[in-house]
């Protein structure tokens, strides 16, 4: 039976985090399986982004920890998380504004490439070849998220929707096993949300596991294989969308009883 169970990619065990007196996360435990789209929802302030930040190393948990792909995840080392295969986008979009769209994606390749200072100065064959590959991969990714026309524009001059796509392209450039999207549909209209849905589906089809934090409940329920609900820092329920939608506690959490 275990041969058919998809592999556990990420395991969170009793993760706790507080800021001063505020308990942002209270012993949250959940699991994400390889190949699924996993949704994380909850009212504002429930701790979703805090959970995210603990997982990706921006915050250090005050209790509990994570296991990724079988090995424990080191806290407070976001660059190591990326090297391990966890990529993320940000709720407030954090692009490299004064670099072009293409350069943003090219720098996403940093963690999977290795040319150093000496290579840069002397331009040996290996460095040149790597540089060509980086550029090509970046162009391919811009095509993948459909903003190839914006390649030479400064990232900060892109439209809001294009910026979100660019951030996803940059995250994909790191060849992640787990892609974490923090409210990617925020501020989007129905058409844009639908295009985003297709993109995320495509990313999963192409082999990346996805963790999605979202407020757009319709998007989450329609897209995710499993959903976890947080409220006041605690896990309320973790199950398939059909069950979660009907759960009384979830309805109360969102509508305030």
């Amino acid at each position: 039976m275990s041969a058919n169970l998809p592999k556990l990619l990420l395991e969170a065990k009793t993760v706790a985090k507080h800021f001063g007196g505020v308990k942002a996360l209270q012993d949250v435990s959940l699991t994400i399986r390889q190949g699924e789209i996993y949704g994380l929802i909850g009212p504002n302030g429930a701790g979703k982004t805090t959970f995210f930040n603990c997982m990706t190393g921006l915050y250090v948990p005050d209790g509990g920890g994570f296991t990724f792909d079988g090995t424990p995840l080191i806290a407070d080392a976001p660059d190591k998380a990326a090297a391990r295969g966890i990529a993320r986008t940000f709720q407030n979009i954090r692009l490299f504004g004064n670099m072009t769209a293409l350069e943003n994606v090219m720098v996403g390749r940093h963690v999977r490439t290795k040319a150093g200072v000496l290579g840069a100065m002397f331009q040996n064959a290996a460095t040149k070849a790597e540089e060509v590959a980086i550029r090509q991969k970046a162009i391919d990714l811009l095509h993948y998220v459909r903003i190839e026309e914006r390649a030479d524009d400064l990232a900060r001059n892109l439209s809001y929707g294009d910026q979100r796509r660019l951030e996803i392209a940059r995250a994909l450039a790191t060849e992640p096993k787990l892609l974490c999207l923090d409210e990617p549909a925020a501020g989007m209209n129905a058409t844009e949300t639908e295009q985003l849905r297709e993109l995320i589906d495509g990313i999963r089809r192409d082999g990346t596991t996805i963790l999605l934090i979202e407020h757009d409940v319709k998007l989450v329920m329609g897209l995710c294989d499993r959903v976890a609900v947080l409220d006041y820092g605690a896990l309320v329920i973790e199950d398939v969308p059909a069950i979660v939608q009907k759960d009384q506690r979830v309805i109360e959490a969102y509508l305030g009883a």
Binding site: N53, N92, R94
Partner: protein, 307 residues
């Protein structure tokens, strides 16, 4: 222990001066997030104006007390105007610019003021007129003078006055609100421009008084004196927690004492390798250590970086 008390007293006096100057830095940084590099130069101009005004009046026969007072008033007025002009002309147009731009502007203004001072007052050291009685006292083996007492008392009075202003007046409340959140403060009806101007003007006034004290204490002045003084006062502000008034005051005094003790004992500590002319290094070392280990200073708040 023979020089310990002496150095403490010296440190207290120098520290009071640092505290007054530090307040100017901390108020501006607290409200605008800008290091007003030119503040040290404002202090320097206060000293030089006093020399010119008081010196001229003394020469024309005016009694010492009156000439001194007139000199002080002139310094305060000139510095207040200078502070106001700095904000209005150099910094206000850059309110929304990225951090680097106002910093470079501040450095530029500092250079401009220094060189204007050199052009007006010349390159040479100037003597500060003798305005206060020269009385010496002795206590438990340490010497101190009337001037030192006056400096500490006047500084304490000014700091007390500032705290009264900030915590018990409408303007003070407006300043505190603006320091926390300028956008919301303006929505609540606070005239942010005037608050910022007030911060500069008040800081400059305090700086002018500090300048007069420096002149009276060391009896000389020079167009370049603002640089080191400003840097050390800024260190004091950081030490106490930038943006925090009480922090700036305590930071100033603490820095003065650290410097004095350091200068007094450094010969012994390093077996004669480093002499007291390394004194200036103490402030820098304090600065570096504080920023490395406790960047929020003694009383500052931790501002985390929430993604």
């Amino acid at each position: 222990m023979d020089i310990f008390l002496q150095q403490i007293i010296n440190g207290l006096v120098q520290g009071s001066i640092y505290a007054l100057v530090a307040l100017g830095y901390t108020m501006v940084y607290g409200i605008m997030g800008l290091i007003n590099f030119a503040h040290g130069e404002v202090v320097m101009i206060g000293t030089l104006v006093t020399i010119t005004v008081a010196g001229t009046l003394l020469n024309s026969g005016m009694p010492v007390a009156l000439a001194g007072l007139a000199g002080l008033m002139a310094a305060v007025l000139v510095c207040m105007a200078l502070g106001w002009a700095l904000e209005r002309i150099a910094y206000r147009p850059l309110r929304n610019a990225p951090r680097l731009t106002p910093l470079i502007t501040a450095i530029g203004m500092s250079i401009v003021l220094q060189n204007l001072a050199m052009m007006i007052w010349g390159r040479n050291y100037l003597t500060f007129p003798s305005l206060l009685p020269k009385m010496d006292f002795e206590f438990a083996g340490a010497n101190f003078t009337a001037i030192q007492i006056i400096i500490v008392l006047v500084s304490a009075a000014m700091m007390g006055g500032l705290l009264l202003l900030v915590y018990h007046t409408k303007l003070g409340m407006a300043m505190r609100a603006t320091a926390q959140n300028p956008a919301v403060a303006s929505l609540m009806g606070v005239n942010v421009n005037r608050v910022i101007a007030a911060a500069f003007v008040i800081g400059s006034a305090l700086g002018a008084v500090a300048g007069v004290m420096v002149g009276g204490y060391y009896e000389i002045a020079h167009y370049q004196m603002g640089f080191m003084l400003g840097l050390k006062a800024f260190t004091a502000a950081v030490l106490g927690g930038i943006g925090n008034l009480a922090g700036a005051m305590l930071g100033g005094i603490l820095l003065g004492i650290i410097e004095a003790l350091g200068a007094g004992y450094i010969g012994d500590l390093t077996g004669g390798f480093l002499g007291s002319h390394y004194q200036d290094i103490f402030a820098f070392v304090v600065l570096i250590v504080v920023l490395m280990f406790k960047p929020s200073g003694l009383f500052g708040e931790k501002t985390g970086d929430r993604a």
